[in-house]
Amino acid sequence: MTQVNSSTLLQVSGLEVEVAERPLLTDFNLSVNPGALIEIKGPNGSGKTTLLRYLAGIRRAHRGSIDLRSHSFAYVGQKSGLNAALTAYENLRWLTQNADQNTSETELMRVLSELGLKSCRDMPVGSLSAGQVRRCGLASLLALKARIWLLDEPLTSLDESAIDWLKGAITSHRASGGGAVVATHATLGLPDTETIDLNVS
Amino acid sequence: MNWFTRIFHKMGSPPFFYRGAKVWVSWLYVIGFVSLIVGTVWGLAFAPADRLQGDSFRIIYLHVPTAHLSQLIYIAIAVAGFVYLVWRMKMADVFIVSAVWLGAWLTAFALFSGIVWGIPTWGTGWVWDARTTSVLVQLFLFLGLIALRTAIPNSQRGALAVAVLAIVGVINIPIIKYSVDWFTTLHQPASIQIGNPVSIDPSMLWPLLVNTIGLYALAAGVILYYMRINVLRRERNSEWVRDIVDSN
């Protein structure tokens, strides 16, 4: 059993993860403490993505509980969540509004320029390259100012510099007391990583 | 747990249902076939002909039961959809999947027999009145349910979509009846009315009753049979299905 801590950000107990009505994981437990980085590993079809969708509340658990303790979270899935017709700025603003946060225009611009997307501010996302779209999706992590990050295969179609940026962002997020759960098959290689291998459990 | 919830849960348990329903299917088939044969022969050969409509009225012995039953099946599907929506009971979805086809066929047959009956009786096969129109829309709704269920193979999603459509549809049918009633008073003289004999002689009524019972029983048997098949198909990976397959 995982120890229950008053400062725990995210507490999962006894969760059953099912895919196509068949249980893939039973009695899954996890707790995310401030500063924790948890990597979920496993081959294709082992339920990494599905587990993350449960954590984000996109799928509702029929058995077990997921307790976010009313912490804010940011979820970046395999789909970008960005509309192709809207500009990078509009998309980011919508994502913050959607998470019930009022991020100012200056802050959003700062986030965009930090990811090298300043020049794309007024370009529709549909005209950006795959890597730029991916960065724009990751930009929402900073824009949302969330305590918990849930990332699904964040390294996909990122170049070296963007990967470095992401590692730096996760490190500083942890330093400021946030937690992250990352589903990935290639490790990020950051210190103090907790690994959960779905194939073993 | 009281007796009701206990039966509810037991019926929701697939192996229990699969084994328990077998006897029911046989009995319903027997009752259904016997009553249908008795009722039909009685209706065709022994019941007297109608004073106004002559022998063509004998179509009533098939038309009325099928029309009623098709509506009943639609309502039952909507109720099952509601049960699925609220309690996510998988057997409710199994029922819907097993009953839609039969419902669609019965509706189609009710329309067909109505048309054939209408030609000699009112001189026209089709009248856009409340009853025929709502039965036609009901057929479309059945076809929609079937099309939707085949288009979404994912069973949880397909089940929910079908449940929602069934409920929206069942609310729509009475509204359609009322609006057609109101609408047609504008256009059509009241001279044509679907034959609903006000006072029907008992000698004519008995075969109708027997046929109705037979059809209901047979339909219940067929639906139960399909439910057994669907339960088996869905639980194909579980232990009890292996036992059954091995024993066959």
């Binding site: - | 088939y29 259904g32 076939f33 249908l36 039909t40 065709l44 050969a45 002909a49 002559g54 022998d55 063509s56 004998r58 179509i59 098939l62 038309h63 039969l102 066929w105 047959f109 067909f112 027999s113 054939v116 009956w117 030609i119 000699p120 047979l218 048997g221 067929v222 049979y225 399909y226 057994r228 098949i229 088996l232 198909r233 194909r236 299905v241 292996r242 059954i244 397959v245 091995d246 066959n248």
Partner: protein, 53 residues
């Protein structure tokens, strides 16, 4: 007998309806039986292949 078959002149309406109903009832009542058999057979083959592995 012939008189009965003529149905008072409505034979062309009554008999087709009853004939189609007969076919309909037989088809509807028997299909689940075939489907059930076919499904059990398919499941048996599935099991066999599984046990070979």
């Amino acid at each position: 007998m012939m008189e009965w078959l003529e149905m008072g002149g409505y034979a062309a309406y009554v008999w087709p309806v009853f004939g189609i109903a007969l076919i309909f009832v037989i088809v509807v009542a028997l299909t689940p039986r075939f489907q059930h058999k076919r499904l059990i057979e398919a499941l048996r083959i599935e099991l066999e292949i599984e046990s070979e592995n």
